[in-house]
Structures are given as structure tokens and as C-alpha cells.
Symmetry: C2
Subunit: 161 residues, 2 copies
Amino acid sequence: MTGAEAAALPDDGASRTPDRLRLRASRLLSQLTTRSDRLISDGLAQADARKWHYAVLASLQDHGPASQASLSRRTSIYRSDMVGVLNELAERHLVERAPDPADQRRNIITISARGRGQLRRLDRILDDLHDELLAPLDPAERDQFVQLLVRLLDHHTAGTP
Amino acid sequence: MTGAEAAALPDDGASRTPDRLRLRASRLLSQLTTRSDRLISDGLAQADARKWHYAVLASLQDHGPASQASLSRRTSIYRSDMVGVLNELAERHLVERAPDPADQRRNIITISARGRGQLRRLDRILDDLHDELLAPLDPAERDQFVQLLVRLLDHHTAGTP
DNA sequence: CCATTGCGTTAGCCCAACTAACGATAGGCG
DNA sequence: CGCCTATCGTTAGTTGGGCTAACGCAATGG
């Protein structure tokens, strides 16, 4: 009986979302993430890439060749999904997949010259996309935001390294 | 040729994620959101509820009865999915679904006494869950975090009200 | 030598976000 | 009035991400 009901369906002149809903961090997170994900995948699609591609290429570049399993751990892409991602990357000749002579179960994945080039492109694209994503924040706030995210994520990742 | 490769697959003593990947806001967002979503849905499941239930009940309580379509707009739950959510809520007698005498296309959805009770429960549960979600932040930082999220989301929602 | 563990791979599940289409009604306009 | 378009509730289906289950095979080690 707040008075809002008294208006008996004003079609909702205010189709507003209640604050207790609108301001829940969980909801803000998932809504923003939905937008962010779309922004990123659309952006990367224009370079014939997906975010997984970037993750794998960056990990190869920064920490060297690796087996699929360890790439999985580095990127937190499920090993089931890694198969497809590596297929896509190999199709595009961005990585080499070779059997490990020392352990016949393993494939050793190596980034190719072309892969390094693509990685540079993707890095530039992602810089731009993040500029768009974080547009309303000044540099200090962007840092702050990232730091807050890191602290939260670390906290909730404590048990699952 | 950074030297990392020289170790020739040390199985990765450091199965570390490269910073350029780890610190991308988009990635932090989606990882954190994954955890957050799981936290919230698990928590709500213990009250036989889903986050959509909360959204609908809160909207009904705060802005009064509405048609399914306008609930859709208030909560940004797709109208296709709203059907199912309202079925669940009606099953539990948390809302009433009645045809609108003034417009035969519409159903008017009203929150029930029981629905109001449930909403109070869910609000308490969500408070606790958010306490867990934001645990590493002090009150000022939580505010800051929420404000940053709001600003970002508002910016990316500008075109799509 | 056998049991356990790790690897790559395939298949499939669940959920959320979203699109397409449809029958029915409302409302505006000529 | 009659037509046109928009809106409403609903069903069905798509896509994509995260995840589980199970497999055959190789490595490891008690």
C-alpha cells in the first residue's frame, strides 16, 4: 500500500527498475558482463578471432610452448573446449601442434610467427575495446576498478587455483 | 626468445596466467560474474528461488501490479522467459495472474501476501550473499565499486533503456 | 607388473540470452 | 465502419559458455 498501486497500471510511466534490484552488485556485474562480453566478441570477430584465441596466444607468447593440459590451466579454458580452440588456431596457422617426443600423451603447442602477428593485432584491438568499455572512467578510476575486481576475484579464487 | 622458452616445458612450475590476460577488465568481469552468479543462485536455491523470482517480486512490490510485458521491461527479463518465471511464481502462490478486464491481451500480475513474505526472506538472503561476495572490501570500497559499476552500466545502456 | 594418474578427445547437459513466429486483441486513421 | 499496424502472451528453437562423463592411451611408481 505504498501509493504506487493507487495509479492502477499507469502502463508504467515509470517502467523503472527498483533500486534494491538495480543496485545489487551481483546484478550490476552480470548485466555489465553481458554487455562487455558482447562488445569484446563482436570486436574480436572482426579480426576473425574469439577471446579464447587471445588467451591461448598470449599465454604461449608470455610463458612459452606448452601442452594442451597446461594451457588449459594457464587460461582456465576447459580442456574439453581447448581442443576446438586449438583446432581453430591451427587452421589459421597461428599455432603448431606437435607430439611431445618425451611424452607421447602430450601435444606441444607452439605459437607461430603468424600467431605472434595476430597477437599484436588482437592486443591493439583489445586496447581499443577496453577504452570503449571503460570510457566513462578516468585513468585513476580505471585502475581502481581493476584493482577492486582483482581483489574480489582473488578472494573467490582462493580455494581453486 | 624471452628466456621462458629456454626451460623447454618445465611442466610449468609457473602455470601462471599472463598479466595482459589476467588484468583485462573484461576478463576479470566475466570471471567474477561467473563466481558471483553461482554464489547467488546457490544461495537462492536454498529458499526454492531463482534470481528472476527476486527481480519480479521486488518490481511488483516497489512499483505495483503490472502486465507481463511491463514486468519484462522493468526487470529486463525477456518476455519469452517471463512466462516460465511467472508460472513458477504462480505455482508457489507468490503472485496472482489475472486477465486485465480493460485489455484482453494483458494479464495483470499482482504480488500476494505470501509473495511479500518471500520477498523479505530473499532480501535477507541476498544481503548475506552480497556480504560474502564483497567480503574483501570495506564499506567505502563497496560503495565505490557499486558506483563504478553503475556508471559503466549506465554508459553502455544509454541507447537501450 | 599392475594400479593409479595424467593426457587428449568426443559427446552431451544445463543455463542464460536471444530470435522467430503465431493467434489474438487494441488503437489509430482514413 | 474497415483496415493496418503495434502490442501481448506464448511456444519453440538457436547460440554460446561452463561443465561433467567417459573413453583409450601412455607414464609413473609402489
